[in-house]
């Protein structure tokens, strides 16, 4: 009804909703937990807000046998349990009506033909116009063959986009190989490597904080910042993912992706605009300039038996499916440098681990001390340097530690925190990261996805860190569950006259 070529004056002033073109979302690995716990609740949230395409369908594909109805039922349970909105039958019915399941052996070409036929059928039924969004929630080894099969069956009708979950490879070589395989068949603008941290509101708010406020950027450099600490702490163990975790460890599970993205966003230069390439160009410059001064600047750890919230939990080597002599690290701490004009000689201390006392992701910007506080030494003994603390999760927000006079006679200075809870000013429910990212992929906006060169730079740093690990066998376990990591992580900072923030 609407003419595309001619300006429609009735649309002037109406907020243009970001509503994507019709499409089918095909989820490979749909029997996994990710689909039930994250993807389907995210789709429901988008449907709840009227943000899904008018013509839309979901096809789940996995090895396990399941009927359409069983798949719908399992997804419904996931939505009821994990969605952030109330369950509304009418919204669910509309979403479920376009939901199909396909049993697929990823290496079976005939099954791929059958899947293609099913998608053509869905196009005819649902009006999805041949547009395909493929979500790869599968191990890296399955991605290449699937990409080949999709490319071989690609028709001229509609667009094709690929969302690829982490891990993207297991080292630089495998990541390059995977990138090459994909790029032989698809353009970079069709590939969306997902790192769900980038979909988090607070991570995006970091860009707003830095680049929408004139007061921070002038002091966001080596002259005013003493160092940066980034913590990605989890209190959970490996939650039954022994096979994956034994291969990956903390360095591939968290450091290679989430943590390095947080470093990049903290350290990047202002992009000229907020387009995908401008933002990613700046991030990749940071990743290229990252280095760690040597093996002594990296600490790895593995948790032993301990207590979390008063409950005794097993050590990593006692977890089901884990080698009792495993040398897989569940904790990494490192000192990194960003070799550029802004950050030269300013350490970025990062740490991440499992079975730490609590779940917390924070970025702490610690400023240099005031050069000459004109107070008696005892007056300022409780005074600590200013810290700008960005809470990524949970309780998104930020706080600034400042020195203030204690009321009363004389001059005594104490550190106080000014807290800004994101939710206290904006009471809209925060969207889940996957909602934002799936919608962006449907719209073809890759700003919050990782580009091929970013992935490769991340792996190059990881390879450099893990190379010496082949020769060296630390005494594991070296920290009890429920502690903040091994003592050597504390020594890493003590050597520089600093200490980890008291969380």
């Amino acid at each position: 009804m609407t003419s595309v070529a001619e300006h429609n004056p009735l649309l002037d002033g109406l907020e243009i909703r970001r509503r994507p073109a019709p499409c089918v979302l095909v989820i490979f690995g749909a029997s996994g937990d990710l689909t039930r716990r994250k993807l389907m609740p995210a789709l429901y949230a988008l449907a709840y807000r009227g943000l899904l395409p008018e013509h839309f369908a979901v096809v789940g594909a996995a090895r396990s046998e399941e009927t359409d109805d069983e798949f719908r039922e399992r997804m419904k349970e996931g939505v009821q349990k994990y969605a952030r909105d109330e369950f509304r039958q009418d919204i669910w019915d509309e979403l479920a009506a376009g939901m199909r399941y396909f049993t697929l052996d990823f290496s079976d070409a005939q099954a791929e033909d059958e899947l293609a036929a099913l998608l053509a059928e869905v196009d005819a039924e649902r009006g999805t116009q041949g547009n395909r969004l493929y979500y790869f929630a599968v191990p890296p080894s399955a991605i290449g063959p699937l990409v080949n099969e999709i490319a071989a069956r690609r028709s001229g009708d509609g667009w094709v986009r690929l969302i690829i979950e982490k891990p993207f490879g297991h080292d630089l070589e495998s990541a390059r190989e995977l990138n090459t395989q994909i790029q032989e068949r698809f353009g970079e603008s069709e590939v969306f490597r997902i790192d769900h941290y980038l979909g988090k509101e607070t991570v995006q708010n970091m860009l707003a904080l830095r680049f929408a406020n004139g007061i921070f950027e002038p002091i966001w450099n080596r002259q005013f910042i003493d160092h940066v600490q980034i913590t990605v702490a989890e209190s959970v163990g490996i939650e039954g993912r022994a096979a994956f975790y034994e291969e990956a460890g903390a360095i591939r599970d968290i450091f290679q992706n989430h943590l390095l993205q947080l470093v990049a966003i903290t350290a990047m230069e202002p992009p000229i605009d907020f387009t995908a390439d401008s933002v990613r160009n700046e991030k990749v410059k940071v990743l290229k300039s990252l280095h760690t001064p040597g093996p002594k600047s990296v600490v790895r750890g593995q948790y032993g038996r301990g207590f979390i919230e008063g409950v005794e939990v097993p050590g990593y080597r006692e977890e089901e499916g884990v080698d009792p002599h495993s040398m897989t690290e569940t904790y990494v701490a490192a000192k990194l440098y960003v070799d550029n004009w802004r950050w030269a000689d300013t350490p970025f201390y990062v740490r991440m681990g499992k079975r730490l006392p609590r779940r917390e992701t924070t970025i702490a910007i610690q400023f240099k001390r005031a050069p000459h506080p004109p107070f008696e030494e005892t007056a300022a003994e409780g005074l600590r340097p200013n810290v700008l603390l960005i809470h990524v999760q949970p309780n998104e927000g930020m706080s600034l530690a400042i020195g203030a006079k204690v009321p009363g006679q004389g001059m005594r200075i104490r550190t106080v925190h000014m807290d800004f809870l994101y939710g206290s000013a904006f009471r809209e429910g925060l969207p889940e990261a996957y909602e934002r990212l799936i919608l962006d992929a449907m719209l073809g906006d890759a700003t919050l996805f990782t580009r091929a060169d970013e992935i490769e730079e991340q792996w190059a740093l990881v390879d450099a860190i893990v190379a010496p690990w082949q020769r060296d066998r630390p005494s594991f376990p070296n920290y009890p569950a429920g502690s903040w990591g091994p003592p050597s992580a504390d020594e890493l900072l003590h050597r520089d006259g600093r200490s980890w923030r008291r969380n």
């Binding site: 609407t2 009735l10 649309l11 809870l421 009471r427």
Partner: protein, 293 residues
């Protein structure tokens, strides 16, 4: 999102000064410290002023109850009682706190009863109570006296004035239009027409030539009519009264668009998210007032 209030503290004073109000607010803030296990946190994104003649007070309070959590602010309710024989300001102060991540986040509600001549200069009460550096939104309940000093004053101090022309006896759009340019003006009746505007936009370009008949409640129908007049640059048939908005295009009655039912709090909340004036709305008002073709 519904969040229960964990703490409400009140104070009432008669014949009060701004200094007393400020002192009592500070005391209420201090008393709320520590409740809920953490330091009290006051968060504001605006100063929200509401001009509420007594007959509108219940409706205004119901709307506010659903609003405070979404727009933490200092709220100043101005309740004019010009016919009162006393000339004074009475105040009711309330500190309303909501739990956010285990910590109470508090906002202040200042209810000022403007008795006698003290109702003539509301801006002089709003200015000292407005939070520095944050926008001032004024919600005018009922039909404004556009020539009255109160309207002029509040338009001058506000960044945005929100009316609901469905609350008016006369659709005095020509008078309202005289305030365009002095402040951003918006109308909740206009917001209610949005689903229909979105729906009608789908019929472009055919709608350009088709006969259009609009029916509905006075204000909404008049604004939708004005909007179509202005956007299509042609005269649309006069509106017909009806309980619900409806549109007939040619010989077809259009199905009402699917839209979420919005509460008065939702509608006001959406208006409080906007800052700039809306030229499309202003054109619709001018057309509805017959000031443009």
């Amino acid at each position: 999102m519904t969040v229960s209030t964990t703490l409400t503290q009140d104070w009432h004073g008669e014949d009060v000064s701004i200094a007393e109000i400020e002192a009592e607010l500070a005391r209420l803030r201090a008393e709320s410290t520590g409740v809920g296990g953490g330091p009290q946190q006051r968060t504001s994104v605006m100063t929200h002023v509401a001009w509420v003649p007594p007959e509108w007070l219940d409706a205004a309070e119901r709307t506010l109850a659903g609003l405070a959590e979404r727009h933490p602010s200092r709220t100043v309710l101005l309740i004019p009682r010009p016919d009162d024989e006393l000339d004074r300001v009475d105040a009711d102060l309330t500190m309303r706190c909501y739990p956010v991540a285990g910590q109470p986040v508090c906002g202040e509600v200042i209810e000022l009863h403007l008795l006698g001549d003290r109702s003539l200069a509301p801006a002089s009460l709003v200015l000292p109570l407005a939070i520095s550096d944050l926008p001032v939104f004024v919600r005018w309940r009922g039909e404004p006296d556009f020539r009255g000093t109160q309207w002029r004053q509040l338009v001058d101090v506000a960044d945005r004035v929100i009316v609901d022309s469905s609350e008016w006896g006369d659709l005095a759009y020509a008078e309202l239009a005289q305030s365009f340019g002095d402040s951003a003006i918006s109308d909740i009746a206009w917001a209610r027409t949005e689903p229909w505007r979105r729906e009608l936009a789908r019929y472009w370009p055919g709608i350009r030539e088709q006969e259009i008949r609009i029916r509905g409640p006075r204000a909404e129908a008049a604004l939708l009519h004005g909007w179509l007049n202005a956007r299509l640059e042609r005269a649309i048939r006069p509106v017909e009264p009806a309980g619900e908005l409806g549109v007939r295009l040619g010989s077809d009655d259009l199905r009402p668009p699917r839209a979420t039912a919005l509460t008065p709090s939702d509608l006001l909340s959406a208006e409080l998210d906007s800052f700039a004036s809306d030229p499309i709305y202003e054109q619709a008002v001018l057309a509805a007032a017959g000031l443009v073709a």
